[in-house]
Amino acid sequence: MSKISAPKSNREFIEACVKAGDAVRIKQEVDWENEAGAIVRRACELGAAAPFMEKIKDYPGFSYFGAPLSTYRRMAISLGMDPASSLPEIGKEYLKRTNSEPIAPVLVDRKDAPCKENILMGKDVDLCKLPVPLVHDGDGGRYVGTWHAVVTKHPVRGDVNWGMYRQMMFDSRTMSGAVFPFSDLGKALNEYYLPRGETCPFATAIGLSPLAAMAACAPSPIPEPELVGMLSGEPARLVKCETNDLEVPADAEIIIEGEICPDYKVEEGPFGEYTGYRTSPRDFRVTFRVNCITYRNNATMTISNMGVPQDEGQLLRSFSLGLELEKLLKSQGIPVTGVYMHPRSTHHMMIVGVKPTYSGIAQQIAQLAFGSKLGPWFHMVMVVDDQTDIFNWDEVYHAFCTRCHPVNGIHVYKNTTGTPLYPYATPHERKYSIGSKVLFDCLWPVDWDKINDVPTLVSFKNVYPKDVQEKVMSNWTAYGYPEVK
């Protein structure tokens, strides 16, 4: 029997968060136009509890849950851990579970699937019947998908993909979305559907269990339905769609079924993005035609509001990108001691700790990182030694400013894969997803003499004999200082 007791649905998650003081129930009516988005944004910027908005203007019977995983406390709750768990503890648990045996999903009967409680087909299909929020004033549209999974199946290999690709409501039956060409769905569309002129069936699932949402935006090679099983310790419950062969999470709040039209694009954006700006241009992007909507009674729509740190765009993505890179580097036998992305870097900088046992190790790390599937999402890799605490920015910053040689330690890689979202990129680079990358090698060169060439770190821990350190620490309060926690 599984020892994990993680919330199995968005509803269980809300309950667990309310109980822990990490969600607030908002009883007064909230406007879907800007007000709900502004509440979520403020909660993110204050690191406050997640807002559960129970009454939405114009949409009786629906509610919103915002900022689901924008704090490490809520991430711990989602994994069924103590909310006070530290980031390294949460990371260790994620690695343990995602390195375990895959757990296949189970298919349930539609009568056991709450997401089928209400069904809109044919002329009744209208996205405006859902409380689709205007998340930020000035966005290109109301966004249906900000915290969700777009479910598709590879037409040849048959593998299932759940991806979190933002989706804007264009009209009552059309959505447009930012599916980048290097994503799993982007590749399937460009390699298969577009050349054949065939439509690609999709289903958007909103109001997922937090671990299903985590899987949808994790850059893991494991198919998401199995990844959810591994993260939660039990099989994900899936149900067949009404209008296509896809299978969707049975306990999701809302399911939108339809087809992607690969040869027809409508405008998408602008939209507030994880970098803290609206950067990517309004452009003609992937178009989703909606054929059916199903939803639970009293459905809750989930909202992630991306902007300046920190929301799930930075916190969760930094977390999973860092840990997936750690797995990749370890799989190549590189002696890494850890990988960390600070959420404030808006997942643009990978900090890698390594035992520098051979020459060129930092370059090997950078080339693997930039060359991997994770690569388009960050442009800086900083490699420090195993004596530097990667989670302590003060130590990392000190290492960077003192050990990174301006000529020998900085390596620039040009014409790589980028995204249209990089604020510093030129308009041309954004349009064509052209990237560039940089490595900051903060390791002492292996060919320096350890005694005479490598400087000695002058710190309490490093220069005093153990017995002196212990004496000073045990006498600390006797000297008149307050206790150090």
């Binding site: 019947k129 549209g141 039209c261």
Partner: protein
């Protein structure tokens, strides 16, 4: 009077004195607020020239100070028939 909004990268996209095609979204109150239509229309920088108002936003969502008016001539169906 209907209220509409358009996103442009450059104000020259709002050429006056001829029929142009735009994707505009409704700002009329109600459940369909912010949904788009593709239309053939005429626009004017004079607010009282045409019956409907047209608010303008730039490429990153910035609200323009210029207020236009618009006459929607017809809806344009861009979507290929096979998807309708």
């Amino acid at each position: 009077m209907n209220k509409w909004e358009v996103f442009v990268m450059d104000m020259s996209e709002l050429a006056e004195g001829k029929d142009i095609e735009l994707s505009i979204r409704t700002l009329n109150a109600g459940l369909h607020k912010y949904t788009y239509k593709r239309v053939k229309c005429q626009v004017s920088a004079k607010q009282d020239k045409f019956p409907d108002s047209l608010q303008v936003r730039m490429g990153r969502g910035q609200l323009s100070a210029s207020k236009y008016s618009i006459k929607v001539l017809e809806e344009v169906q861009r979507m290929p028939e096979k998807y309708l």
